[in-house]
């Protein structure tokens, strides 16, 4: 047997940045950033230490939640939140359908497409809380501001996904229907809806989930719901009531997630 020589060392070729100077430069930059960022934290250890006791009390409140003392507030907030969630999801989905059709490149036309796309982009990049601030300023405190906020956010979310679905759908089916001389509405009804409907229902349920979670947040800026209850409880340092609210939120989110997963499976 001939003894051929083979290399006795092997290094894995670098995955991302082949040039070692750039690679080490990159690592160094990351390190410098992390140090600079951490230095801005400016932790007040004294204050944090004092806060520990309060943290302990909160943990205790979470373990021994008090549902009864503030039950009136909690149930009121809960009903408001659920109301907002359901109405805004339904209104949002219904309004998202025309916007989504308008934002789909293959069935829309120039100006309509641009307007719908712009609406979607704005709605998606603004935090729900920021929108809530504006609506509270316009229509006052209460669940109506929450409803408007969540509807606005739902339109952006649903319209974008809907438009993407329509753009990806099987063009041949729509083509075949167009060839029969069908009107635009008939095209939507026969060519688009059957393909998009199951996904639409699935996404609506997913959005229902998100809207409930968000409804717990926008109350903090005055848009009603269980978030307002939670905010009050924390302001009053009633950690056991706050714990109760949080547990209710977690349980409801778990329930809706389980339920919507079940329904999604059933629909598809």
């Amino acid at each position: 047997m001939t003894t051929q020589r083979y290399p006795r060392t092997w290094r894995r070729p670098p995955v991302l940045i082949p040039d070692p100077r750039w690679r080490w430069g990159f690592y160094l930059a990351v390190l410098i950033y992390l140090l600079a960022a951490s230095s801005t934290l400016d932790v007040n250890w004294q204050r944090a230490y004092e806060g520990l006791e309060r943290g302990g009390r909160f943990a205790m409140g979470f373990l021994q939640p008090d549902f009864t003392t503030r039950w009136r507030d909690i149930s009121l907030g809960l009903v408001e939140s659920l109301t907002m969630t359901l109405t805004s999801t339904i209104a949002g989905v219904l309004l998202a359908i025309p916007v989504g059709l308008g934002a789909a490149r293959n069935i829309s036309n120039g100006p309509v497409y641009l307007i719908c796309r712009a609406f979607v982009a704005v709605s998606r990049s603004l935090q729900e809380v920021i929108i809530a601030i504006l609506f509270v300023a316009m229509v006052g405190f209460g669940p109506l501001a929450g409803f408007l906020t969540l509807t606005f956010a739902t339109i952006g979310f649903m319209a974008k996904l809907l438009a993407e679905d329509i753009e990806e759908m099987d063009e041949r089916q729509a083509e075949a229907i167009r060839a029969t001389g069908a009107s635009w509405l008939q095209l939507i009804h026969v060519g688009v809806m059957p393909q998009v409907m199951p996904r639409l229902i699935g996404l609506s349920l997913y959005r229902l989930d998100i809207n409930f979670r968000e409804s717990a947040v926008i109350g903090i800026v005055g848009a009603g719901g269980i978030g307002a209850t939670l905010n009050t409880a924390i302001d009053r340092y009633e950690y056991d009531s706050a714990g109760a609210v949080l547990i209710i939120i977690i349980v409801i989110v778990m329930a809706t997630e389980y339920l919507s997963g079940y329904v999604r499976k059933w629909v598809q």
């Binding site: 992390l34 806060g51 109301t83 316009m138 109506l144 903090i220």
Partner: protein, 271 residues
């Protein structure tokens, strides 16, 4: 031979009829729930307050424009803080989320009865509670400041990253792990060679995606005192300085657009 298709057809018909019934029932429940909840909301709304809403909107619009452009010089510092809250929070969240994901995944958890439900509970709790609520609690505990914001973002990120990661771990190709196991590899080596390479793309994609979301979320944490540009927003709102509010919105919108672009670029590069 002829009877078989017929029975199949009637069975199919019966099935669709039941299916149709369920669909109608679902619509009925949805619509009546909508009507009931809509009325509840109407009871709680003061409509006379709303009568002048269009006027209010016009009024608000008038006060908000034009934005106070010069105010931007006061916003660079808070913006830097916001960026740091999002980035550090995401990093801490990831560091905690990865082990939690391995404990939660059916095929890597040390115990399905005990550890897995606990890990799943951590993930669900973290996911259910918005970072603003975490921040609210943490400001009450730690006092106002960036640290509360960083931890709030981290706590919220655990659930998101953890969920997507454990699902990715459960979906890996088991043949690759089996092959590594067959060479006599230890547990850690199996993790390193069999599992990690398979989930690495998901890991980076999810992390960058969460960072993008966290930028958006950290812009408002200041509303409850957790630092960043939201503090400025809160101050401007309290003093009704609407042109400043508009300017802050513009900066936030710009930041969000940039971070979204970065995140989509990175995700495309990984693929």
């Amino acid at each position: 031979m002829m009877t078989q298709p017929t029975t199949a057809l009637t069975a199919w018909k019966r099935n669709t009829r039941r299916h149709e019934w369920l669909v109608w029932l679902a619509w009925l429940v949805t619509i009546s729930a909508f009507i009931v909840t809509w009325q509840i909301m109407n009871q709680n709304t003061l409509w006379f307050f709303l009568a002048d809403a269009p006027e209010q909107i016009r009024d608000l619009g008038g006060r908000m424009f034009p934005p106070s452009w010069s105010y931007i010089h006061y916003l660079w510092g808070p913006l830097w803080d916001t960026l740091n809250i999002a980035t550090l929070g995401t990093l801490i969240g990831i560091v905690i989320a990865v082990p939690v994901a391995f404990l939660a995944a059916r095929n890597t958890t040390p115990s399905r009865r005990l550890v897995r439900p606990l890990a799943l509970l951590v993930i669900v709790a973290s996911r259910s509670i918005n970072s603003l609520i975490w921040a609210l609690l943490l400001v009450a505990i730690l006092g106002p400041g960036l640290l509360a914001g960083v931890i709030a973002i981290a706590l919220r990120s655990i659930g998101f990253v953890g969920k997507l990661m454990y699902e990715a771990i459960e979906e890996i190709d088991t043949a690759q792990v089996e092959a590594i196991e067959a060479t006599g590899a230890s547990l850690m080596q199996r993790l390193d060679y069999g599992i990690v390479p398979q989930i690495l793309p998901t890991f980076f994609g999810v992390s960058v995606f969460r960072w993008d979301i966290n930028i958006r979320e950290s812009t408002i944490l200041g509303l409850v005192g957790a630092g960043g540009i939201g503090l400025q927003l809160q101050a401007a709102l309290n003093t009704l300085a609407w042109p400043r509010v508009t300017m802050i919105f513009v900066v936030i919108l710009g930041t969000v657009v940039v971070s979204e672009w970065v995140s989509s670029q990175v995700r495309n590069a990984i693929r």
